[in-house]
Amino acid sequence: MFTIKMKMFATVLSLIVLSGCSSSASVQLTNDFPQVLAKPKPLSAAIVFEPSFSNYVARPNEKTEIDIGSAQVRLLRNAFAGLFSNLEFVASREEITLDRAMVIIPSIREVQVSVPSDNYLNVFEVWIKYNLDLETTDGDTIDSWFMPAYGKTPDAFMASKSAAIGEAAIIALRDAGAKLMLDFYRIPTVNNWAIEERRKARQANIREVSP
């Protein structure tokens, strides 16, 4: 009886140890992101979070799965609030109610992951390659902007692979927010659109004031 118990204990222990050594990682990002510290421009935008984007689960390789959808929606909601004063978030283009707004449709081109056994460095790395389709409310294309984001986290002794990849993915998402804040209005076509929109708004104001 004692022998059977010992064998069972040894089997359970071995299973725990082996599962701890497993090289697969399934990550779900549930954290919140801070509000951006920026003054938005007096412009309007409609952000289209299509279901394929808001429920996106990245599978960069057969052993890794990152549920990134809801986290990236939370991040982009915060980031766009620092760029536009008037915002609308919708799930499809048909739901847009704003006039004279920039329509932004984000999508993911690719997610890549690199672990210490791949890069021979003591870091876990995550790349998220976004694409932002920028259009007018009439459907004319303004631009299609490729926006790569990167995050890395150091390898820690006995730390789980999932936790390290999750942390690197969060840093990559924060980097996406930083990239957006830093470079969005530097895109020449976006800058031109913003200038034109402000000019139209000024003309509309003058027309309202004059008899």
């Binding site: 992101f33 801070p34 951006v36 150091p154 980097d175 927010g177 930083a178």
Partner: protein
């Protein structure tokens, strides 16, 4: 009997002496005077994370922060500052030099947030701990009759960290510190593996923290 005890004592002393780290600190300050800090002011320690092959780890930053906390110095946790000022101190956006810091502080909302948090000085910490060299071998075996490890292994570790102090009011650099800490750790396999670890990183942290603490002098509001 006496000789074997003496030998054992000698061996223990040699091993323990071998487990201490050699730490060097270089300091640069434009003036010899301590940096004045009001009792309401706070310091924030930030790690540089823009290098490709290493990261200044958060554990080290909090360790230095803890060492500095004595002597009425108030230290704001790194993540709290980075979140409050998001996204301007992310690896992509953090100012690398004073010129960029000056441009950043021209933004009213950033300056207001820094004032709201009462941050007077920002200390950048940059560096890492690396294993330089390792030698020896250790083999472990387990069988029905028991198990054990036999052999000897050793490795050298080097911690190099630099601290740069920025004044967020004057937008100037107030000083620099560099700490190098090196030491060898041993693992002796005599049935059970017996480690003799040299605390290279914690030595670097303690030295840097204590030296940085000496940079500042806290003035009460009544003294001014």
């Amino acid at each position: 009997m006496k000789l074997s005890r003496l030998l054992l004592l000698l061996l223990t002393t040699i091993i323990i002496a071998g487990c201490s780290a050699t730490t060097t600190i270089d300091e640069y300050r434009p003036t010899g005077e301590a940096i004045a800090l009001n009792e309401d002011d706070r310091i924030v320690l930030l790690g540089r994370r823009d290098a490709g092959h290493y990261e200044t780890d958060r554990e080290f930053i909090s360790c230095v922060g803890e060492k500095m906390k004595g002597g009425d110095i108030r230290v704001l946790p790194e993540q709290e500052f980075i979140d409050a000022i998001y996204p301007w101190f992310e690896p992509r956006t953090a100012p690398k030099g004073l010129l960029r810091l000056k441009r950043l502080m021209q933004d009213g909302s950033i300056k207001d947030e820094v004032n709201k948090l009462s941050i007077r000085y920002l200390v950048w910490l940059d560096g890492s701990t690396e294993t330089l060299d390792s030698g020896g071998s250790m083999s472990c075996a387990i069988g029905p009759g028991g198990g054990g490890c036999f052999g000897f292994a050793q490795w050298d570790k080097l911690s190099v960290y630099e601290a740069i102090v920025w004044d967020l009011q004057d937008l100037t650099e107030k000083g620099r510190l560099r700490v190098d800490s090196e030491g060898t750790s041993y693992l002796i396999g005599a049935v059970a593996p017996i480690p003799f670890l040299t605390p290279v990183k914690s030595d670097a942290c303690a030295s840097l923290g204590n030296q940085l603490k000496g940079f500042f002098t806290v003035q009460s509001n009544a003294e001014q």
